[in-house]
């Protein structure tokens, strides 16, 4: 226990440090060159402005030299939202994956296990087909994702048998229906501009991130993450048999329902702004399990940090590796799958 606890403090400290450093480095990385001096001046200016605003001008802002307006726009209107969104989406997908793994007693559960992603894809494809614009794509994806999970819950309620199995089976069925709908939309879509747009959305990308996407996702993400964090100890008991958990005083139906709703909410919010980004919700929690153990008290916060760090790093590769941007979903799969194989084939066992 002490060993794992020390591991936890170490992981939280080092991941926080890396994340902070990663954020600063991400500001500097990009096609438009911004040197370290300009970067720190611009960041300092922003901090000064904030301080001035907070103190009602008692501490006046004193902008430094050498930062052009163009640099400022790129840093704060293009790169900042993207950095924030990469961290938020990574954090949410990892948290949702870890939470689903617990409540479904299934180490292989991922955020899309119940069809949240398939539903979002159908909604997004439909909005792209109707050429409703970027904002509506986001809204449609989010709404469709929640409707899908609602359907999954209704079907699973009507079905008979083991409750966990029922939900997972209903998820597979409804996802399959959504995939059929998405395929149909792709079939009728204009192959010159609409079909590529749909395909590109499904690859998952943060390239079109605006401040608006950050604001749109932030509320449902916060609303889902907070209860997950508060309930994290009780997720441990849901990984045991229901009878055991009940005799230890846990209202299993209520807690499991709340965790599913919250995990779904943050998944839907993530997918609606980023498209389909796979593997984060599976690989990150599993790596963190090796580092801090299976206790959700430590696992959940550490997974959130790890997810943010992972997606920020991958997004930097996605926008800087080639002259054209690589959709991040392709990269997470390319990195995630081999990484997972390494994780499960390592000698030291115990998942």
């Amino acid at each position: 226990m002490e060993e794992k606890l020390r591991g936890y403090s170490l992981v939280v400290l080092s991941f926080s440090g890396l994340l902070l450093a990663g954020i600063v480095v991400s500001f500097a990385l990009g096609r438009f060159p911004i040197g370290p001096l300009e970067l720190f001046t611009a960041l300092g200016d922003k901090f000064g402005e904030l301080l001035a605003a907070l103190t009602n001008g008692k501490i006046p802002a004193t902008p430094g030299d050498g930062v052009t307006d163009q640099m400022r726009t790129i840093l704060f209107n293009v790169r900042l939202p993207r950095i924030l969104l990469a961290c938020m989406v990574g954090c949410c997908l990892a948290a949702a994956g870890a939470a689903y793994q617990g409540v479904f007693q299934n180490p292989m559960a991922a955020p899309d296990i119940l069809g949240a992603s398939s539903g979002a894809a159908t909604g997004a494809a439909f909005a792209i087909l109707l050429q409703l614009g970027a904002r509506m794509v986001m809204v449609f994806a989010f709404a469709a994702s929640l409707v899908t999970i609602g359907l999954v819950m209704l079907v699973s309620r009507a079905a008979r048998g083991n409750r966990v199995l029922r939900i997972i089976l209903a998820g597979i069925m409804i996802s399959s229906l959504c995939n059929a709908a998405t395929s149909f939309i792709k079939l009728v879509a204009d192959p010159n501009d609409i079909l590529p747009a749909i395909t590109y959305w499904m690859m998952g990308s943060l390239a079109k991130t605006k401040a608006e996407s950050v604001a749109f996702a932030a509320v449902p993400m916060a609303a889902g993450l907070l209860p997950l964090l508060l309930l994290r100890w009780r997720i441990n008991l849901l990984t045991l048999s229901d009878d055991e958990a009940k005799t230890m005083g846990v209202n299993t139906g209520l807690v499991r329902g709340a965790v599913i709703v919250c995990a779904t909410l943050v998944t839907a919010a993530s997918v609606s702004v980023s498209g389909l980004i796979g593997w984060v919700g599976l690989v990150v929690p599993h790596l963190i399990r090796r580092l801090v153990g299976n206790n959700y008290r430590h696992l959940l916060p550490a997974s959130m940090l790890g997810g943010a760090l992972f997606l920020l790093a991958v997004d930097n590769v996605s926008r800087n590796l080639l002259s054209t941007e690589i959709p991040i979903g392709i990269l997470t799969s390319a990195v995630g799958a081999p990484f997972f194989i390494w994780l499960i084939t390592r000698k030291k066992e115990a998942i």
Partner: protein
């Protein structure tokens, strides 16, 4: 006051599982529940644990009606020790014990120093403090059973319901585990455990409750309740009960040719 059950009946749909069960287990008493597979032992336990709602009858825990006690309050009085099984995730022995304290922790919080102490004390109580950092899957079956008992102790319940705690254990671990359980009863815990071994009932139980097809077949101190006729009617096996030189009663199957045939017919 322990556990008191009066006129308990339970049915799964049309299938009657328990019919008019009466029994009680007092403080500091080890009650062994005997009965063949399907006699209703698990159903009875689930009713007493509040997991199943009885159709008729009354269950009183510490003198108070079970249906008037909230699940959380119930968890502080009565704990369940399941047969050890592989959990989905490999928790440390300490974390397993700590889970027992959940009924003492607010719905949105995590166990604190007081709960950690309860878990430590529980591990020390059953003598497995040295295993605290080990994974639950990396310890022996007997140690796993002990750590599940530690979890029940950390729950701070005074009534322990154990589902065949010695199943899957080797001869030595069976004995060691039963001695620990007997010690707990000596300290005032009420222990209700199902067992398949009549010898265990004679060696360790204060009282026996024998179930057959959902009804009470016999109840009372082992030497009075457990007879050769009872065992034959429960398990379809003729046995001879003999007093050993040390004053214990041993149960020995009668392996004459005639009897072997009648045992095989029941298979």
């Amino acid at each position: 006051m322990g556990v008191e059950v009066r006129g308990l009946s339970f049915a799964y749909g049309a299938r009657r599982v328990l019919e008019d069960i009466d029994f009680e287990a007092r403080d500091g008493e080890l009650l062994a529940v005997l009965g063949p597979n399907g006699a209703g032992k698990s159903t009875l336990f689930n009713c007493v644990l509040g997991l199943l709602k009885p159709e008729r009858g009354e269950i009183r825990i510490g003198g108070e009606a079970l249906r008037a006690i909230s699940p959380r309050a119930l968890a502080r009085r009565i704990a369940y020790v399941p047969q050890s099984h592989a959990p989905t995730f490999n928790y440390s022995v300490f974390d397993m014990a700590l889970m027992g304290t959940t009924a003492h922790v607010g719905g949105f919080s995590v166990p604190g120093a007081a709960q950690a102490k309860l878990a430590e004390d529980a591990l020390a109580h059953v003598g497995i403090s040295h295993l605290r950092a080990r994974g639950f899957m990396q310890i022996s079956g007997g140690e796993r059973q002990l750590s599940l008992i530690a979890r029940a102790l950390a729950q701070q319940a005074r009534i322990l319901i154990m589902d065949e705690p010695t199943a899957n254990l080797d001869y030595g671990n069976r004995l060691r585990l039963m001695l620990r359980v007997k010690e707990l009863a000596g300290e005032g815990y009420t222990v209700i455990q199902s067992t398949h071994d009549p010898d265990h009932a004679f060696l360790f139980a204060d009282r026996v409750l024998a179930l057959n097809a959902g009804r009470v077949a016999a109840a009372g101190p082992p030497r009075e309740a457990v007879t050769e006729a009872l065992i034959e009617s429960l398990y379809g096996v003729r046995v001879r009960l003999a007093e050993t030189r040390r004053g214990n009663v041993r149960c020995e199957p009668v392996l004459t040719e005639n009897n072997m045939k009648s045992i095989e017919r029941k298979l």
